[in-house]
């Protein structure tokens, strides 16, 4: 797949966001623009509608004012949308880090998140992606709570022809993942992806259970999990920021995956998460198909979000 089609796919997925975030004055030269209160309020609302958190919206608006003022002083030829894109890219750029497998074998990925975020589906897509890159992949059915979650992961395993370590529903999640990690080690697997049950970040006992999973993994490999990936649904509002904060506090996350960006959800909360936590965003999900799990790209994301053509 070419970069171009990848952009288009992402862009069409983000179509609605683009409409919202390309304000009417975006193509005007910043140097010629009067930033009225009305215009700023309108801009603020557009950002809010894209699920960007209120505090960040205010920061961005203030920064934009300064940038426009500077453009005026120095008679710069930039447009307001260029200035805004720069702000967004600056926020997202530090998150633009892909997973590096390094020498770890197996490289253990622990996938966590709230209920219904899309953890198991993401694992299915990720397994296919890694397999395509000629990696030996194994899955661990660590969601031993939800009805048929084990079967769901097993089906993904069959589809991708990768082994799945699973026990019956109701088994100890940490034990399943421990077994899987040992087995992956013995079988010289490159990447082990462990599923976990969805849990709300406010459920203390379940968050503690997750910490136990981590500790148990560390008995096999002190460096495990090499990646603790939080899956976040792009249609979530401001609570996604709370989710990221709380999961990070108890699990020391190393990456995020943003799912369901193919609807009209704007995913603006990603900016707030980037601003507050600066966690690497590893992948984004922009569709149902397996190839619709894509490596996050800050510039492309900002382009698609703001409805700009990529600078090629």
């Amino acid at each position: 797949m070419t970069d171009r089609s990848l952009f288009n796919r992402l862009k069409s997925g983000l179509a609605k966001t683009r409409d919202l975030l390309s304000p009417g004055f975006s193509n005007q030269k910043a140097a010629e623009l009067e930033l009225s209160d009305e215009l700023l309020e309108n801009f603020e609302e557009r950002l809010l509608m894209a699920d960007v958190g209120i505090e960040l919206v205010q920061t961005l608006i203030n920064q934009l004012k300064l940038d426009v003022a500077q453009a005026k002083r120095e008679h710069l030829p930039t447009t307001v949308s260029d200035l805004f894109k720069k702000l967004v890219v600056a926020l997202l750029e530090p998150c633009n880090q892909a997973i590096m497998l390094g020498d770890n074998k197996p490289f253990a990925i622990l996938v966590v998140g709230v209920n219904g975020a899309g953890k198991t589906t993401t694992i299915g897509k990720l397994a296919r992606r890694l397999k395509r890159n000629r990696k030996q992949v194994m899955l661990a059915a660590g969601d031993t709570f939800r009805a048929a979650a084990v079967e769901q992961l097993v089906t993904w395993g069959e589809r991708n022809d990768v082994p799945v370590v699973a026990q019956a529903t109701g088994a100890d999640s940490a034990a399943v993942i421990f077994d899987a990690l040992e087995s992956a080690k013995a079988r010289n697997i490159d990447v082990l992806i462990a599923d976990t049950a969805g849990r709300l970040h406010t459920q203390n006992d379940l968050m503690t259970e997750l910490q136990k999973v981590k500790r148990v993994m560390q008995k096999v490999d002190p460096a495990a999990p090499h990646e603790t990936l939080l899956v976040i649904d792009a249609s979530m509002g401001q609570n996604a920021l709370r989710q990221a904060q709380e999961f990070h506090r108890s699990m020391q996350l190393t990456g995020l995956c943003i799912t369901k960006l193919d609807g009209t959800a704007k995913g603006g909360v990603v900016l707030s998460i980037a601003d507050q936590l600066g966690l690497p965003i590893r992948y984004i999900g922009v569709g149902e198909a397996i190839e619709d799990l894509q490596v996050f790209d800050a510039v492309q994301f900002a382009d698609a979000l703001l409805g700009l053509e990529p600078d090629t």
Binding site: E45, I54, T155, D233, S235, M236, N239, K260, G263
Partner: protein, 453 residues
């Protein structure tokens, strides 16, 4: 995050003090804060706009009720309107149809449709003794059918098998026949999660709906949803004649603004709240509770209402007059004030209703209070009539007697005396501004200093 609105409002509301009528001008700033709070709670912007407009219309010109500051009066308008919008009463499922009554679920991926079916089925089975079958038309997500089968087993209702290679339409029509033969009262039809922009999938669910003609078509929405909830609700509402909404995952800390968006956009009642993944985590919808949560302000309204009802106006006026006339605030007055506080549910009751205190551990709340109010009253009751009127005469032996009589320590008596002196000072301050009413008002916002906390 949770207390943002109350924090914000306390600033703007303070400026409103002392005005007897709400005007366009004096509510402007507060309404802006309310608007921001609603947005922060993920209420869709279009809904926020129309909501604020309605509140403005209702509030302007309104007189400020006794015992309320203008700010509180405005918040009361906001909250009343919010509750009203959410649907004034809780609506039940309507199952009056020729058996089997068909209930179909619809919603985005991961909203919680399948789990909700199990919860609803369990409820109908146990509370209304219905004979129930469930069937899954989700042929897309791996093991979705198996998930419903497992849940059906857990709650012991009939599961009508289906397979991933069947068409959803074929499954549904077959299931209706099976439920008829089985003499079921209710048939639940689970559908695959779908994006509202997915034309093919929306077409499929429209067809499905036409084929089985359900008596209830429930839109399941995640309470953590953001602005997009408005978009998806609108699309589903246009595609299907929805009969109700179920809000899921309400056991988290999301403010749940999506509830308001969906309710406003579809006009359909929210019938239940899902709490947790266990099969009994389902509650009837309470508009007032969700309204408070969206505003992030605790149950301020009921506090305001209680203050209106329970403060004994005669007592308050008597006290106010007394203070104005220059007479000092004695132990009897303190006692009457303490017992008024107890009438309002005591310190713990007050704290429960104040914003920001909901998250305090229960142990801390119980420490904060009611016992000390009680023992303060006991101490006063152990005084002689003369002591109550002239507390200055209470010295060491009197203290020992009072402590013994009230079952407290001398230190407690000392503390009460000290608090009384401080209260007296405070009363003098208030008497200048307008007496007891102002004091009671200020108590609604914050407790007077040096009360036992």
């Amino acid at each position: 995050m949770f207390d943002n609105l109350s924090q914000r409002l306390s600033n703007t509301v303070a400026k409103l003090r002392g005005q007897s009528r709400l005007t366009e001008d004096n509510i402007k700033e507060t309404l802006r804060e309310v608007r921001m709070a609603l947005l922060e709670a993920d209420v869709a912007l279009t809904v926020v706009r129309s909501f604020i407009e309605r509140v403005r219309e209702k509030a302007v010109g309104q007189e400020v009720i006794e015992n309320l500051t203008p700010g509180q009066a405005l918040i009361k308008v906001v909250q009343d309107e919010l509750v009203h919008l959410m649907g004034d009463a809780n609506e039940q499922l309507q199952l009056n149809a020729q058996a089997p009554a068909i209930i179909m679920m619809a919603g985005l991926q991961g909203a919680g449709k399948t789990t909700t079916i199990a919860k609803l089925a369990k409820r109908l089975k146990e509370q209304e003794k219905k004979k129930i079958s469930v069937v899954s038309c989700d042929v897309y997500r791996p093991a979705a059918i198996k998930q419903l089968e497992t849940l059906a087993g857990q709650i012991e209702v009939n599961f009508i098998p289906s397979a991933a290679d069947e068409s959803p339409l074929a499954i549904a029509t077959r299931a209706v026949e099976a439920a008829k033969l089985n003499h079921d009262d209710v048939l639940f039809i689970d559908t695959a999660g779908r994006l509202h922009v997915d034309g093919d999938m929306m077409g499929e669910i429209i067809q499905l709906h036409q084929a089985v003609n359900p008596v209830e078509t429930l839109f399941v929405v995640d309470s953590m949803s953001g602005q997009d909830a408005a978009m998806s609700a609108q699309a589903f509402n246009e595609a299907l004649p929805l009969t109700g909404v179920i809000l899921t995952k309400t056991d988290g800390d999301a403010r749940g603004g999506a509830a308001l968006s969906v309710r406003e956009i579809t006009g359909k009642p929210i019938k239940f709240l899902g709490t947790g993944e266990k099969v009994d985590g389902l509650e009837p919808f309470h508009p007032d509770r969700v309204a408070s949560r969206i505003l992030g302000m605790g149950d301020v309204l009921s506090l305001v209402e209680e203050a209106q009802q329970k403060v004994d106006h005669k007592e308050a006026d008597k006290l106010a007059k007394k203070i104005k006339s220059g007479k000092s605030f004695n132990m009897l007055d303190l006692r009457s004030q303490l017992s008024q506080m107890q009438n309002m549910g005591g310190m713990a009751g007050l704290m429960d209703k104040l914003p920001g205190t909901a998250k305090l551990p229960a142990a801390m709340k119980s420490q904060a209070g009611d016992k000390s109010v009680q023992s303060m009253i006991a101490i006063i009751d152990s005084m002689t009539a003369k002591e109550r009127r002239f507390p200055d005469i209470i010295k060491s032996t009197r203290k020992q007697r009072i402590a013994a009589g009230s079952g407290t320590q001398v230190q407690d008596v000392n503390r009460l005396l000290k608090q009384h002196i401080q209260m007296q000072k405070m009363m003098k301050k208030f008497s200048k501004k307008g007496g007891m009413k102002n004091l009671m008002r200020s108590m609604q916002g914050r407790l007077p200093p040096n009360m036992p906390m």
